[in-house]
């Protein structure tokens, strides 16, 4: 019944007004986007997306026990508008989550991440700390509302490789009219050191009018993250012996 209703409810001028309306909406969102400071957020309430600032602050403090994240390139992000940041991810590394927590602390703005499940109790908990569903419309709504959102590429166990970047989610950023930033992450399964390096906004190699725009942009983001990973190197370089004073490495 629900699906049938979804197909038949069609307002007379809805189709014609939709495109213009969306454009005006985006413009209004850009204009009205008032940046909420992490430090000003009230505890004991949730925001429009169900994120609980008090809980986020607690989780940020707790996350320092596990990760010591160094963030770079945050100056490239827009100060008021929304943006999509795509990071590389490995299984169980929780890269989008630690990146969102660390980045929100650095830029003093709420940063959300894509990829929460919709099953209790994990789904509601992740929503409380800024999780969004893995759905293009959900992402487009948040980006149009001036939010910074982090999404992960598909998991790849190789540290220098980037998994597939979901072009449907990148398409949501294009629809919302916001920039897409590649970001490289590295973390250790045993150590606390972690890094997040944000690159310059990715641009599609060609100007397209159709769906190829998002496909090519998604590919380009993957390439840009790969370059950032190559520049960043490993989280630990060399062996401990390399750092001994008499090893001859490092000018000693």
């Amino acid at each position: 019944m629900a699906n049938t209703l979804g197909r038949v409810v069609n307002f007379p001028v809805r189709a014609t007004a939709a495109r213009a309306g969306a454009a005006v909406s985006r413009a209004a969102a850009d204009f009205n986007a008032s940046v909420v400071r992490l430090t000003d957020e009230q505890a004991g309430v949730v925001d429009d997306w169900g994120r609980d600032p008090g809980l986020v602050r607690t989780i940020i403090r707790a996350s320092r026990l596990r990760w010591d994240v160094t963030v770079g390139g945050d100056q490239r992000l827009p100060r008021r508008k929304g943006a999509l940041i795509v990071v590389n991810a490995r299984t169980r590394a929780l890269a989008p989550i630690f990146s969102a927590l660390a980045l929100s602390e650095v830029v003093d703005r709420p940063v959300r991440f894509v990829g929460r499940p919709d099953t209790a109790p994990i789904g509601p908990f992740l929503r409380r700390i800024g999780g969004l569903l893995d759905h293009p419309d959900e992402l487009a709504g948040a980006l149009a509302g001036g939010q910074l959102v982090i999404m992960g590429a598909a998991h790849d166990e190789r540290t220098r490789r980037v998994g597939r970047v979901d072009h449907a989610l990148v398409g949501a950023a294009l629809a919302a009219g916001v920039q897409v930033f590649p970001a490289a992450t590295s973390s250790s399964p045993i150590g606390r050191e972690a890094r997040l390096e944000i690159g310059a906004a990715s641009r599609s190699p060609r100007k397209r009018r159709g769906p190829l725009a998002e496909l090519e942009l998604a590919d380009q983001v993957g390439v840009d993250i790969g370059l950032l990973l190559a520049e960043m190197g490993e989280i630990r370089t060399g062996t401990p012996l390399d750092w001994l004073p008499l090893s001859g490495i490092g000018g000693a």
């Binding site: 629900a2 209703l5 069609n10 007379p12 925001d47 997306w49 419309d137």
Partner: protein, 364 residues
């Protein structure tokens, strides 16, 4: 029917027969106020409000009376208006009186129809009765409006329950999200939108749907409001999801704007911010009652006995949340809510309770 009065317009024949015919002096002085009012009315549009007896409908009629563009104003409901209305002609007709509704609407021949004659389950009627009444009213009123040659625009009251909260449903759906209701109330408002859209398509008039968040206000019969005001408020310990609400006056302003501007598409009308049941209980200094799984069945039964039944759409909001994107409200309606969700909830707990006054003279 003279202008400037709230009175039954001959809809109650027995009352009309019982009342003596008004006598008129031969040389009655000219009532300039009425003349000016009549002049203004002639220049305006005829607006018909269904459901004018409810708190929301009465507030809408009150706001429409103050609008320059509104000429004649008429309304229909099964119950009389909650406040005094000065210009609105009220017809008290039950939704099952199809012929009288059609005759009343057709003879008024409105330019604009504002359809807020809907019954939320467990607000003023039990779920089955509410669905029947809503369906009867929608069929009669929208059907009658389609016969009106002057009709230009229809505004219907809908709800954000229309999006449903199935697994994987968007957290904060915008107006373009798929319609997939998962509660009785959601299916009801979807059916109203569907009927209105079909009528609009058929007779070539624009149709706007105002999708309201749960409406709360001091006099609004709301199952969610009643539940939150109970001494103990149940919440889902595993999820405790956020929901948003809207105050009745903000909702009424949005509907009046939709009528004035000729809204021709759906719009979400939701107060900014969100709150969870646990947070609401804490703000209202109520006892939060954590519930998991089968406890809810017991809680629903107890709550029903205590006078605050929990219909499926409220239960859904407490388990799965109820948010919607209100980003297009300002753009489409030119208004923003005066009160955020937290404000509305705080005000909910500041409404005065029933004050029992002892009789001054004891008669027994």
């Amino acid at each position: 029917m003279p202008l400037g009065s709230t009175a039954p317009a001959g809809d109650d024949e027995s009352l009309a027969q019982a009342m003596p015919a008004p006598t008129r002096a031969a040389a009655e002085p000219i009532n300039w106020r009425r003349v000016v009012l009549a002049f203004m009315v002639m220049g305006g549009k005829r607006v018909f409000v269904s459901g004018v007896g409810g708190e929301l409908g009465t507030t809408i009629a009150g706001l429409l009376e103050a609008e320059d563009w509104v000429g004649e104003l008429s309304g229909i409901d099964a119950d009389p208006p909650r406040h005094r209305l000065h210009r609105t002609v009220f017809h008290r007709i039950h939704p099952d009186e199809h012929d009288r509704i059609v005759q009343t609407v057709a003879s008024f021949n409105p330019h604009v129809l504002v359809h807020v004659g809907v019954w939320e389950p467990d607000a003023r009627a039990a779920p089955e009765a509410a669905a029947t009444l809503t369906d009867q009213a929608a069929t009669s009123i929208l059907g009658a409006a389609a016969e009106c040659s002057a009709l230009e625009h229809v505004v219907v009251r809908s709800g954000i329950e229309i999006y449903g909260r199935a697994r994987g449903a968007l957290t904060r759906p915008s107006e373009s999200a798929p319609i997939a209701p998962t509660s009785e109330w959601g299916r009801t408002v979807a059916a109203i939108e569907h009927t209105a859209a079909k009528v609009g398509e058929r007779v070539g008039v624009s149709v706007g749907a105002v999708r309201l968040a749960p409406v709360l206000g001091p006099h609004v019969p709301s199952p969610l409001g009643r539940l939150l005001r109970q001494p103990g408020v149940p919440f889902s310990v595993l999820a405790d999801p956020p929901f948003a609400v809207i105050e009745d006056r903000d909702a009424a302003r949005a509907i009046v704007s939709a009528a004035r501007l000729g809204l021709a598409e759906p719009v979400n009308v939701v107060a900014s911010g969100a709150i969870t049941a646990l947070q609401a209980a804490r703000r209202g200094r109520r006892v939060p009652i954590p519930l998991v799984g089968p406890d809810w069945r017991i809680a629903r039964g107890l709550s029903h006995l205590l006078g605050a039944p929990i219909p499926d759409h409220v239960s859904e909001a407490l388990h799965r949340g109820r948010l919607a994107d209100n980003g297009r409200m300002r753009e489409l309606l030119g208004v923003t809510p005066d009160h955020g969700t937290i404000d509305v909830i705080d005000r909910l707990y500041h409404w005065p309770s029933i004050v029992h006054q002892p009789a001054r003279i004891k008669v027994a």
